[in-house]
Symmetry: C2
Subunit: 354 residues, 2 copies
Amino acid sequence: MIKLANDRLLRALLREPVDVTPVWMMRQAGRYLPEYRATRERAGDFMTLCRTPDLACEVTLQPLARYELDAAILFSDILTIPDAMGLGLYFSAGEGPRFERTVRSRRDVEQLGIPDPENELRYVMDAVRTIRRELDGRVPLIGFSGSPWTLATYMVEGGSSKDFGTVKGMMFDQPQLMHQLLDILARTVTDYLNAQIEAGAQAVMIFDTWGGALSPRDYREFSLRYMEQIVAGLSRENEGRRVPVILFTKGGSGWLEAMADTGCDALGIDWTIDLADARKRIGDRVVLQGNMDPCTLYASPERIRTEVEAVLTSFGHGEGHVFNLGHGIHQHINPDHVRVFIDSVHELSARFHQ
Amino acid sequence: MIKLANDRLLRALLREPVDVTPVWMMRQAGRYLPEYRATRERAGDFMTLCRTPDLACEVTLQPLARYELDAAILFSDILTIPDAMGLGLYFSAGEGPRFERTVRSRRDVEQLGIPDPENELRYVMDAVRTIRRELDGRVPLIGFSGSPWTLATYMVEGGSSKDFGTVKGMMFDQPQLMHQLLDILARTVTDYLNAQIEAGAQAVMIFDTWGGALSPRDYREFSLRYMEQIVAGLSRENEGRRVPVILFTKGGSGWLEAMADTGCDALGIDWTIDLADARKRIGDRVVLQGNMDPCTLYASPERIRTEVEAVLTSFGHGEGHVFNLGHGIHQHINPDHVRVFIDSVHELSARFHQ
C-alpha cells in the first residue's frame, strides 16, 4: 500500500476519522487560473491539452501548487469516450463541443464499438500514470467519467443541447434503442474507469451532468440504472486500498435516496438542498460531497468564510463530509478567493471533528 | 359576474368540481405555430408585437383557434417591467434579451421608479382589455409577471446569464441593496398584476424562472419572500369572482411546502417531481398545475397519449389539478402533436373526476 502524505479525502470517503474536512473543487484545473490559460494556449487547443499526458499532468498539478487541496482530479473531458468511439469530437467557438457524426438510428448504435481504454484511450491512462508519478503520494488522484445518459445526450444531439429534444424524443419513442446505446456506454464507462483505477486513480467519480433534466421515472430508467450497472462492475480495490466511487447528478437532490442505493460510497450534492436535509435523508449510508454555491466565490473573502462556516454547520459534526462546490468553479473567479475558500474549510472545520 | 362558456380552469383553481381536467400550455402563443411566426414577421420585431395591443391579442388567440384549450394567457414578456423602469430592453440575435443599462450600484437602485401600469405599461393593460373583449367569455384570461428575483437577475446581469455571477455576487456582498431592489420590484409587480386584474385578467401567474438557481436559504430570503409580499398585496376578487394566483418556480420542487404557504391558490410544478409525491407533500393546501416533460411533445401521438395518462394517474382522482407542461412549449414542436396532447387530456381525464 502506497503511503499518502495526505489521505484525508480517502479517509473521509470511507468514513474514517479526519482532523479537518477534506476539500477539492470540481474543475479545479481550469480557466480561472492564469497558468492554466498559458498551458492551454501553448497546447493550441483543448483536445491537444487532453491528449498530451505531460500537459494534462501539468494542468492537473497547477491548483495543487497554489492551494492546500486534499485531492487532485485527472484533467480530461467527459467526451473522450464518444470521441474514442469514432464520433469525431471538435470544439467550435461559441458553440462548445460538437460531433461530426451523431448516433440516432439502430445502424448508428450497432456500429459503435467499445473502445479499449489502453488503446484508443491510452492517452488518458498515460496521463493518470504520469500524474501519479508526479504527485508522488502527496494527495490522492481522482479519476472520472461522464454517466451513460449524459454521454448519450451529446452523442444523439451532436453536441450541447438546451432542451434535449432529439435525445428525449428517441428515449420516448425508441426506448429499446436508447437502452441498447446506454448499455454500450455503461460497459464502456466500466472498462474506462477500471483502466483508470488500474493506472492509478485512487477514487473515481461519475458525472451525470444532465440526469437532472429527466423526470424521476425516466431518471431511474435511463440514467440511474446504468450508473448502478457501472458501480457493480468496478474494481473497488487497488494497491491494497479501497477505491471509493462518487456519484454526482446535477439537479438530483430529489432522488438522493435512490442514488445512495446504487452501491456507491459518496454522493456529490449541488447547492439546491441543505446538507442538513440531505444528511437527514441519507443518514450514514453514503458520504456527502459538496455543496457550496459556486457563485459564493464572487463574493468578498469575509463572505466566503461565512458561507464555508454555514455549509460546515449545515452538515454538522462527525465524519462523512467532503467539502466541494456544488458544481464546477466558474472561469471568472479571482484565484485569491479560492485560497480563502480552501483555507477556510481547513481552519473552520477542525471543531466539527473533535 | 360575467358568464364564462368554459370556466373549468377557474373551477379547478378553486377546487370546485369539473367534468374533465382543464389544460393550457405555458408559451402556448409562440414560435411553434406558423401563424404566430407570420404575425411576428409582420410586426417586425418581438417588442413591437408585445407593445401593439391588437397584435398581442391576435397571437394570444391563435392557439385557441386551433385547440380546445381551457385558458388564454396574455401574450407579453416578463421584461416589460424593467423596460418600463427605463433600462432600455432590446433583443440581439443569438444573445436573447439585453438591457442598455444595468442596475448594480446604490445609485442605480435609487434611480428606479415604480412604473404606473396605466401609463408606461398601458400597452399591456390595453392588450388585456382587447383580449377580454375578443375572447367574449369563451375561456378565462390569465395575466402574469416575472418574479422580483427573476427580474433582478436580468436587470443586474444586463440580460440572460448562465451562472448569475454578478447578481449573486451582489446578493452575497450587498444583501441590503439587493433587498432594496427586490422590494421595489415586488411593489412594481403588485401594481402591475393588480392593474392586469382590473383590466380583466381572471387569474394571474408569477413566473420565477431563476429561483431554482438559488440555495434553499437564499431562495427563501431573496425570491420566495417577495412573491409572498406580492400575493398579500393582490386584489383577489374582480367581476364577482375570486382571482386565483399561481406561483411557479422552475427547479423549485424541493421547496413546494414553503411555496404553498405564501397564500397562493396553485403551484406550477416542473417534471422533476412526480405529481403523486407533490400531492402527498402538499395535500389539499393548494392546487397543482403541471407537469408533463415538454419534450414528450417530440414523441409520437401514441406515446404522447401514454404520457398524458401517466401524469393524470400520478395526480390521481379528485379535484385540484390543472394540466400543463412542466415548462414552456419548445419552438420546434409539431402543432399536430399539440392537438393530440390537448385532446388526450380531456378524453383521458373524465374518469378521474367521477
